[in-house]
Symmetry: C2
Subunit: 246 residues, 2 copies
Amino acid sequence: MTYCVAVRVADGLVLLSDTRTNAGVDNVSRYSKMFTWEAADERAIGMMCSGNLSITQGVMTRLNKAIRMSAEDPGIETILNAESMYRVAELVGLAMQGLQDRYRQSIQAEGSGADATILVAGQRKGGQHRLFMIYSAGNFIEATEDTPYFQIGEIKYGKPILDRVLTIESPLPEVVKAVCVSMDSTLRSNLSVGMPLDLAVIRRERFRFDVRERIEADDPRFLAISERWGEALRDAFSTLPAILPA
Amino acid sequence: MTYCVAVRVADGLVLLSDTRTNAGVDNVSRYSKMFTWEAADERAIGMMCSGNLSITQGVMTRLNKAIRMSAEDPGIETILNAESMYRVAELVGLAMQGLQDRYRQSIQAEGSGADATILVAGQRKGGQHRLFMIYSAGNFIEATEDTPYFQIGEIKYGKPILDRVLTIESPLPEVVKAVCVSMDSTLRSNLSVGMPLDLAVIRRERFRFDVRERIEADDPRFLAISERWGEALRDAFSTLPAILPA
């Protein structure tokens, strides 16, 4: 499985993903599920993938191939020259449709699932910072003020904390803490989601990544959040009023 | 959907269930998913059900019918005269098998699911207090010291808090708080789980229910836990160290 979460607040965008891929418990590997692009301080785009790995890798390959080909032929439309983030989401959806059209039937015929989901976050100069979720059919939805985050993969364990602390006004350091706590809850409850993590932050109107780093299993900052959160939860729990008399 | 959680600690057993049943969002009803039996200060048994409602109601009907018939013919084995809690779990499994044999194929033929799961908790004089989970096939597993709780239904949202605070040594009032917090997280994140709740507590070596009550949506104790937990989580969150500088 996978757990990826992306948040869009007034100040910018935060992306966090795990790196575990498995096809059964005896076939576990590590793949980055986060892909990022920057272009000339004009745009920054981050994507995270869940679902069938051959499909999502195929989508990434198509997007990157178009970028390489556009160096020769600038008329080729790519995620780095598309006129808007909305158009970027459309291009990802089109690549998804291409892969699904080619492989979905044969993948399903052998009993596997071809579903895949891709989160697309970014900003280009002159536009808003935006966050989209692209489905297997190539269609997509956008995060709004009411729903400032999207999750893909193993989403349930880490959802309650996001629902409680995130709003459109949350400052980016708060958002980074929130997604780390959400990931920590997921890691503890589901073996198929695993360290290390990939973290990316795009501050509004910067058009580049403020943070783009890998958080390893022994990262002291993540360990501090994880340990402190465990203690804080137990402390908080101990202050709750009793239903049953002691 | 459903959310039921049962915990077995050294001091006894705690059961909590919601009461919402739905077949689609426009067909929502309320059914108790908790069933309890007491017999002459000799045993107390509680069960909670998830899955196909016709199957689980059928199982409860069979168990109760046997009890009624045994009034005439004491030779009939029932959950109230079975020699052990293990045998009680077997009787529930046999009833489950009977219902599945009769209806599973026709239920599946019309495109519905026949799966069902039943949690069985209790103690009889002379035995330990025990907790079992009975599957659709009639087979079952038992809660051990390593895994002091079972959940059925919509289990993921409410699992992280249980993993963090429950141990076999947790006192019963703590366990009641923990299952209420677990339920509160589930209620907030999933519309198909709903108030009111059914709560039951069997203290070790008492052979009757210490608590067997319905918690309504406006119950001040549950509201206090829910509100205080929200505040406490936000307070705890604010004390976490930052990963990203402010």
